[in-house]
Symmetry: none
Subunit: 438 residues, 2 copies
């Protein structure tokens, strides 16, 4: 690891009051580590000019680069510009170029710029502006003592873009080829975190140059392989470790680094020139939304139905009213007919259907909250429609059940595509209790 | 607000490396605020004994109470005990009672206690142990200078339990019946944050017992009204401030506290016994997913279509192929036909349709990335279908455009329901440039 360190200060009352979770510092630390820079601290402060200025002064001497997010908005509690000026011992001035740009942004949309946005065109004398292509607030770049300081908006979409445009290139130069940090992510789905921990237990022991850790989100367990240092030995160990993790996780490992389950599926479908439709009940559009989040999804995703009511299922997907009446809207048969109906009406290659009880109401002894049936319909090698259904019981509140159902549906499609139609055991699958043998 | 302030230090490499998001400090700040204590800072540090000790020494003088989580485990990188001892200028000793308890925990489960757990029974001489009923690591209580210091495990379930058992009672005594904290949220949509800032500018000035701030997420601006202190005067000021904010934001204010745009819409539709369907293109199911996120949405939401491809629009919503051919899939006419088609097929009271260019590809000079048409179709008082369309240009990347489109569609429906069919000016609305007069 290079000896370059970073400090991250995030500004906003909403952070220290607990109204909002700080995700900006997490994201920045990940990006910094990819460039070989370790983060020495995250500091969240309220919208308090004096506290921000004091922290800026104290922190600058301790790290190689200082990043600040938040407090660049157009309201009275946006005080980061002022605090930076205080820390520099300077006053604020108006940057004419920034002001012109800001004004023209509003005019293009037919408005006059409100007076309070004026403050967003201000900067300390020695600082420079960082352009913000996706919002109104330009960022700031300055130097506090020996340390470069970058001030970015708190809005994540804006902050991330400006990190890429302005800060990452500068940090790369700062690091300047000294010790690289290798990072690889191997993403898995439908395996319990403890199971992943078992599978790669020996790799997770500390002591060598390669560090392996895990991170969980919904039913996706991501394994992070990290190694610091240059030289062929370290690189070999790193590459070997990453490959070993992927091999051991086998079919459950769906992607690397920036891959998501949806992006991997879209890629495979494109490669097969295959199309997909969705039929969702309890997930309400979440699966469609995850797939269409992938740029280029339109090449493979035709669309879908959110059949939230029973009438909708019957009328638009041809689910038989008797099926709903006798087996229930939440049943394997209903899920199957939803998928088959969607496939038949569209001529798609694949159809995913989900029906379940997200909660908190609607559960019963036979079908408790968390009960979800997921069906996949597809055209087999003989050109005939085929389908299968899986029964799950997901633990958690409404949001968790919906997210787990959506992820698991995508996982089912992924396994079908990637593993020649063979599904492994999946987390959350319902296993009826086996009677004890007499 | 009482003059009692807190500082929160969270320890762990996984935090500063960005592998894990810090939720402990957020949760603790919420609990502290409920007791009338403001948090002065959140500080996340790596598993670095010297850095932790230095921060402990520096922080203790600045706050009334210091909370630390993390670094109490049985592994090599658990260093918080040592760091606390360093900050106190003491060495570690074994607490015999804690050791006996720890051993017996393992023995009860049929194990001998591993040697590395020994460190969990250690404490600085002047500190005391805090029992942990749900894990192995006891916490620590000490005093650094004038400030009480509480060290808790990083595992959220254990930390929260021990907060309740040991820390909350102590903090309550510290606050000692001084000042309660009142908080109210007023949520608005489709107003620029700077505009909200203008409208409530005088209320946002600092200095009195009532503090007003804003928080933005997508196109929802939430105004937070907070007041510290007991007594009828403070309560009056608080109630008046909250009411004034709501009055001034007028039709743009859609809800309070836990309300979301979707939950308010579901409530209004229920009250009118009205039903809703959706037809989404670029948002891919996001609107349906937001509505169905609300428990009880099934009483008003029948379902919808994700008409991602042109064929889907034509085949299932009866959008005329000539419309798509001559005006484009992204046009006011297409959006209108999607909404009218959805309404006609379902007999719903309301239908929302969205079509647009989310990006990064697909934009043109006439219809740049971010161009979105949103249509609302409904049955008027004479029982006749009616509809209108709005044209927007949203700034941002693919995710931002989709989220803003979804929120704005819900906002349109909300305004229609809440304001007797009259829509105010909406953020993002496209205003063709007015030709300068000759």
């Amino acid at each position: 690891m290079s000896r370059i360190t970073a400090g991250i200060i995030t500004v906003g009352d909403e952070l220290t009051s607990g109204d909002r979770v700080d995700t900006n510092s997490t994201w920045l630390s990940q990006r910094l580590l990819e460039l070989g820079v370790e983060t020495a601290f995250h500091l969240a402060l309220p919208d308090d000019r004096a506290a921000i200025a004091a922290s800026l002064r104290e922190s600058a001497g301790r790290v190689s680069v200082l990043l600040i997010t938040g407090g660049l908005g157009p309201t009275e509690d946006d005080l980061t510009r002022e605090a930076l000026a205080d820390a520099l011992g300077e006053s604020l001035m108006t940057d004419e170029a920034a002001l012109r740009l800001l004004r023209s942004r509003f005019e293009k949309r037919g408005f006059e710029m409100p007076r309070r946005n004026l403050q967003q065109a201000q900067r300390p004398k020695s600082a420079s502006m960082l352009s913000n292509p996706v919002g109104t607030a330009p960022g700031l770049a300055a130097r506090l003592g020996a340390a470069p300081v970058y001030v970015l908006p708190g809005v994540p979409g804006e902050m991330r873009r400006m990190w890429a445009d302005h800060v990452a290139p500068a940090v790369r130069e700062l690091v300047n080829g000294s010790d690289r940090c290798h990072t690889a992510w191997i993403h898995s789905v439908s395996l319990a975190e403890s199971k992943v921990g078992e599978i790669i237990e020996d790799l997770m022991r500390r002591g060598g140059p390669v560090v392996v850790g895990t991170l969980v989100s919904d039913y996706v367990v991501s394994v992070r392989v990290r190694a610091a240092g240059d030289g062929p030995d370290v690189e070999d160990l790193f590459v070997t470790a990453a490959r070993t993790v992927a091999e051991r996780l086998g079919v459950y490992a769906f992607g690397r680094d920036d891959d998501t389950l949806a992006s991997v599926i879209v890629r495979r479908l494109k490669a097969q020139s295959a199309t997909l439709v969705t039929a969702e009940s309890c997930t309400g559009g979440l699966v469609g939304s995850m797939i269409t989040d992938v740029p280029g999804a339109s090449e493979v995703y035709l669309g879908g139905w959110v059949t939230y009511s029973n009438d909708f299922k019957a009328e638009f997907l041809d689910v038989a009213p008797e099926t709903i009446a006798h087996h229930g809207a939440v049943s394997g048969l209903t899920a199957d007919q939803m998928a088959v109906g969607a496939l038949a009406q569209t001529g798609a290659a694949f159809a995913l259907a989900i029906t379940g009880v997200a909660g908190p109401e609607g559960g019963s002894a036979a079908k408790p909250v968390g009960t979800v049936f997921i069906a996949l319909a597809f055209v087999d090698e003989d050109g005939e429609p085929s389908s299968f259904v899986r029964h799950f019981v997901f633990v958690g509140d409404r949001e968790m059940v919906r997210r787990r159902a959506a992820i698991t549906a995508l996982a089912m499609l992924h396994f079908h595509l990637a593993n020649d139609g063979m599904l492994p055991e999946m987390l959350g699958e319902f296993r009826p209790r086996v009677e004890a043998e007499a």
